[in-house]
Subunit: 314 residues, 2 copies
């Protein structure tokens, strides 16, 4: 039987899979990553994770027809080089060539948010869309655009609408700018606000709870005014971000994924209502705003799809 | 000889041209439009303008192989229907069919900003670009994206990044939302600020001058603190808007056109510097930010190019 390998390299873990030519996952592997690790140890654990997946599938990794890897950007997808990964502390790492040499199979490297978008397009909530926008709201905000079945790359392969300025005088973002969407509407932004709430009122934190997004959501639900304000601003910014993309790119599907959106359909509803209010009629009527269908696996399935494309010479 | 017809329908005038199959303009015509006019009188003057162009070229309009029309506002380019044009007061006007029937030649209708983008791509400052972003900074802010030689349409044909929210709590836009790019960085926004300056200090207005963008630029140059603040905010917003598009779409060329950009290269320099500060390195290094090359004719040349495409079955 023929099969491919897929890896999703994240800030906290490496997820790997072996999949058949029909896209079905046959085996999985996982390893941890830690912030600031150099490429050496991470590369070793990437190989371990994908070997574990092959083992779970009862297959030999060397027999895989191709492998695709999603990595945090910016990266050069054509050269397969991670240009810079602040989370991992990488710079100019020729990921594709290192892995291809070590494993003896063709390897392709792609931005992780692009692969999450592509995974949703091929196997998740984006199936059948012609112009699909993906926003992954997690620690950061990842963006991907799939146009007529292809990942939109632009000139560099890096498309970062997660860092669009939506509030010129807004809070400082991890990227050094003020008022990025990510600075208001990401898990990191909600954790920052949660810490501020807890600093003022330590009693808000329950035993075993951490000051992060779920705390803001719980307090807001319980009627805490401060948490409600934080949530309102989150919804306002994310709704504006979605509306900017609906107005500007006129997708027929917007897929919202990432850990923060897992909070539930109530959050999707609020963001959708805010986006509707801010979108132009023609563009809004032509699109659907939905939650991701693959949970935390969007990126891994995107890597499966890209590896299959490689086998098919696409 | 073979030739095509082109019309750019604007808020104040109708510009028309007859062009040869090499794209060279052989004759021109022009007629005024007035705000709030219904379709009847405007359609009549569109026909007059293009007949004038044919006459100037010494050619018969009925012999044109095709005609393309750029029109404002949300429209359906496939059906050739102007859905809504607040400036002209139009709603659901089947522009293509009306003109095709009246003139007896094939007609195509396209969003005016898309055609300005396409005109710059084919004959102006966007030539040779693979991923070209156009922003036309005039009364409003028009946006167009040309990807690998084709106008990007999305699901509806309407792509309005001129109305992206860049300032959640910003000034009210003509579209009814707050903090759109257009609400801060358009000619209309500068005129609003100019009027506010003049209301407070009527002596700022010289004889014959109107409270509009050039007044803000002149006062800022002369050291007026208030005008400098307005200009700074304009540059900040437009720089953020350009950076959002550079970060998000990774173009290899950004063309800035429209009447406001005609102020001079000093304005381009300031916007470019602000955008550079806000853009990611990988995307910034791969792009050039330039002024439009066709002045007020970008849209008209775009219509010429689209009419030629029609002749060539594209």
């Amino acid at each position: 039987m023929e099969y491919v390998a897929a890896v999703d390299l994240g800030g906290t873990k490496i997820a790997a899979a072996i999949a058949g030519l029909d896209g079905r996952v046959l085996g999985r592997g996982v390893r941890p990553t830690a912030a600031g690790e150099g490429p050496g140890p991470v590369l070793g654990r990437m190989v371990e994770a994908v070997q574990e997946a092959a083992h779970a599938a009862g297959l030999d990794l060397g027999g895989a027809r191709a492998m695709a890897v999603g990595a945090p950007g910016p990266l050069d997808p054509e050269a397969g080089v991670v240009l810079e990964s602040p989370n991992l502390g990488w710079r100019d790492v020729p990921l594709r060539d290192i892995l291809a040499e070590r494993l003896g199979i063709p390897v392709r490297v792609e931005n992780d948010a692009n692969l999450a978008a592509y995974g949703e397009y091929r196997y998740g909530a984006g199936q059948g869309a012609r112009y699909m926008v993906y926003l992954g709201i997690g620690t950061g905000i990842g963006f991907g655009l799939v146009v007529l079945g292809r990942i939109y790359h632009g000139a560099t392969g890096n498309t970062e609408f997660g860092h669009m300025t939506v509030d010129l005088d807004g809070p400082l973002c991890g990227c050094g700018r003020h008022g990025c969407l990510e600075a208001i509407a990401s898990g990191t932004a909600l954790a920052r606000e949660a810490r501020a709430i807890v600093a003022r009122r330590p009693d808000r934190l329950q035993p075993g709870e951490t000051p992060a997004a779920p705390l803001v959501f719980r307090l807001a639900r319980e009627g805490d005014g401060e948490a409600q304000q934080v949530l309102d601003r989150f919804v306002e910014a994310l709704g504006a971000g979605v509306a900017n993309l609906v107005n500007g790119l006129s997708p027929d599907r917007v897929v919202l994924g990432g850990g923060v959106m897992a909070a539930g359909d109530w959050l999707l509803e609020r963001v959708r209502e805010e986006a509707r209010r801010r979108a132009f009629g023609a563009q809004w009527r032509a699109t659907e705003v939905v939650r991701a269908g693959l949970g935390g696996d969007s990126g891994l399935y995107g890597a499966v799809a890209l590896a299959l494309d490689t086998v098919q010479g696409r």
